[in-house]
């Protein structure tokens, strides 16, 4: 079956509550924006096929819940990710400041083999809003954060509007490209996604049980 041969790429979308993760995904996958999306509990999952450099890939995008207390659930699905999207809301400074903690959390729980060059991408959403509502001197703060908190690594950065469909497509094409690279990098070591999942589950379940002492 040709469908089976498609490269599966797993993408995790993280960021504070209400930054627009669900809206971004809906815009990318279903090409629409609605004010009627509900807050995400736990995680949602969407798939989209696209062609990157003549290669058909299937993007599995995990839309996570932004509330901090749900972070501990991340272990259940961060594993095997090929790319992680860190989102903030250009009107919400706190969401910007939290980018690094999302990144750290992801690295801790996903246990990726190459934390130093694991592909992250940063999305600042809601650029459609009035200039006056945006975080004052955003660029400076952003630079400060990437340099001091995100390890000075040059993560690609996109400013988007899920509402007006600005830059969303471009951003996710980049996501797919980066994920594909990551996948090819790791490709040799895992032939079958499903097997990988199983291992992942078993391993982190054990970890967790010992890790939680609360």
């Amino acid at each position: 079956m040709s469908a089976r041969k498609k490269t599966l790429l797993k993408v995790i979308v993280l960021g504070d509550l209400g930054v627009g993760k669900t809206s971004l995904m809906q815009q990318f996958v279903n090409k629409k924006f609605s004010h009627q999306y509900k807050a995400t509990i736990g995680a949602d999952f969407l798939t989209k096929d696209l062609t990157i450099d003549n290669k058909t890939v299937s993007l599995q995008i995990w839309d996570t819940a932004g509330q901090e207390r749900f972070q501990s659930l991340g272990v259940a699905f961060y594993r095997g990710a090929d790319c992680c999207v860190l989102c903030y809301d250009v009107t919400n400074e706190k969401s910007l400041n939290n980018l690094s903690s999302w990144k750290d959390e992801f690295l801790v729980q996903s246990n990726v083999s190459n934390p130093q060059d694991f592909p992250f991408i940063i999305i600042g959403n809601k650029i459609d809003v009035d200039e006056s509502k945006k975080i004052p001197s955003l660029q400076k703060k952003l630079l400060n954060i990437t340099n001091n908190q995100l390890g000075g690594l040059n993560y690609p950065l996109f400013e988007t509007s899920a509402k007006d469909s600005i830059n969303v497509e471009t951003a996710f094409e980049n996501v797919a490209r980066m994920a594909l690279q990551q996948e090819e990098l790791n490709g040799a070591s895992r032939n079958d996604m499903n097997d990988d999942y199983h291992d992942a589950i078993n391993i982190h379940l054990e970890n967790d049980n010992s890790g939680c002492a609360c």
């Binding site: 209400g18 509900k38 589950i201």
Partner: protein, 711 residues
Amino acid sequence: MPRSDLFPELAVKSQSKPIHALRSKDGYSSSQEINGLVSDNLHNSSDAQIAKLVNLKFNSNAFALIRQLSQDLSAKETELILLREEKSRRENELLRLCNEFGNLSYVEVDRRLNALKPEKNVHKVVSAMVLDAMAISDSQGSNERLPKDVQRPKPQSRNKRTALRRTQQPFHKEEKSASTQNRKSLAEATDIRSSVGLPVSPNLHDTQNPKEEPIWPRWLHWLNQSEESVDLPNKSTDIQNKSSIENSRNKSVVELESMGDSFSPILTSTIFDADKFGFVNDKPLQNLKCKTSSLQDMPSPVESPVSISKSATEINLTLANVENSESGKALTTLALSQSLDKLKLLNEQYLATSEMHLKQWDILMRQAQTSGSPKSDQDVSLGTFGLKAQNLKKQGSSLRKMFGHEDELSDDSKSFKFLQRLIYESGIPPKHRNYLWFELSGAKNRAIAGEYQRLLANSQGTSDPTLIESIDQIKLDLHRTLPSNIYFNNQKTNGPGPQFAALKNILMAFAAYEPNIGYCQGMNKLLGNVMLGVNESHSHGGSKVSEENLFWLYVSIVEDILPCYSELNFFHPKAMMLLREDSLILRQYLNKLMPQLGKHLESLGVELELVVISWWIGVFTEAVSSIDLWLKLLDGLLIADNPRIKFHAYTLAAFYFYQRALCGFKERDSIYGFINLLKTGNGPNIKSNEFMSIAASFEKQIHTIELKSPS
């Protein structure tokens, strides 16, 4: 005169008279003969079938058919008028007598009548009816004609009922049920018959002998008789009601919606095209669904007696879907019978069972309220039911007696079982919901006067960073709570709906009340649904619940009803990890009880924990699509012995009903697609009582397994 004598006598009197009157003239026996043939479902027949009918029965004269139809219509119309007259006459007479001889208020009359001992084998009769009906609908092809002289119940018999209800004088509620209850002393058969709104035949008991037409069970004969017994004195009663017949299918829908006494959708139907809970059809979300084709192998309902009575909306939806929704077609036709004929039967039975349940509820409530009032029972000062439902089970608790059903259920544990059984069988009916929720949750005892206002004021002007954070999060979630519901989001103006402010206030006050718990996503959904339930109850004549009381109800549900994990509140940030551990236990249960599904999900690499946890955190709002069912799940939680196990049981039951669909998916994406579909409220319909009984059986099974803590 002793009052107890008054009623049976009255009942008999008022019963026999009208029927004689109705039967006295019989000028239309010939038309009566084909009556059923013509009006019954002709609109569903193909042109060819109608042509055949015209050929065979009307000598190829289509005008004769039209004439016959018209005659049938006017006959029905006359029947309605007579019944209406009779009904109101009897009602007035009964009340007059009660006033005159018994010096009884309407409330008392109602209570007396309800106190009459219900027949013990009501259940037997009903299940026999149900079984019969199932057998029939299975053995009969959907479009098959019935034997000539054995008519099936017609849609009109339901309309008759609607008409009766509509024309009732605007008495108090009590009066109305007084008049419907006055046949209580007769056999249960009579009871059921009257409960489906049909006149009671005086020689009803004669018809019970078994030498009837074999295919049709006797209860159908009772139904038929009423139609035959109607005379047609006035041919000139014209077809005023053409449109009502044209709409007859819609009508039955309307009627189901108006099952409650005084349901008047405040916002719902007038301004928007919304359903009874205020949901506006949100098309965009429906498109998010996974491939519908795979949904076609939804589990077909277990053909058991319980499967008959279903929530009103389920029938509604089915009718609506069958008629106009493409996507719905695939989903619902499987869950229900294929033909409208069968639907009509089910409809009748639904009415019968739900009326029976309603009566039982009325009995229970009256009992509880009388014995619970401080006047009659000194040591009760806590309110009617007192603390939580759990208290009812405590030995020697005076509260428990309130559930007693005097003679039959004098035993305390039995009386609690009575409540439990009613809740499992039918859920709390809307009109009693607000009262019972408030009582059973323990909200009544939690409420502290003035506290809510204080909390609200605190939360509004706070400088506490944790509280501010909670409030920020609440604000982000408010407009993402039930966005397709007009109570929360006014689609016309794109502004807040009438209950938006209450939602916000209560969530904020709670964050101030329990800063350690604060706000957790999922709370908004829980509260939103609770509010919908309260709305519905209110529109059915249930007690009014102030925002303050709603707050205490919510507090009680969150703190006393939802499971606790290691003494941490369900929504406590640290409980999340424990919930996760519990979800691992659920996986074990699933593998044990539904091994096939367990294996299937595992082989596709589905993250079961995620699915389960999002169901739990949203208190099942994302697990079941119908609000009606959800409300019953909450009812069940209120009286749960162990809420944590109840959560497992509900989860397993949900998987049970989705099992066929889930096992049909060969890819993980489709599974997640299906799970997402549930979140948007577009999942398959599940019959409430089936769900509850499946959940109960799972609960029993897992009860025997020791829950081991995974650390």
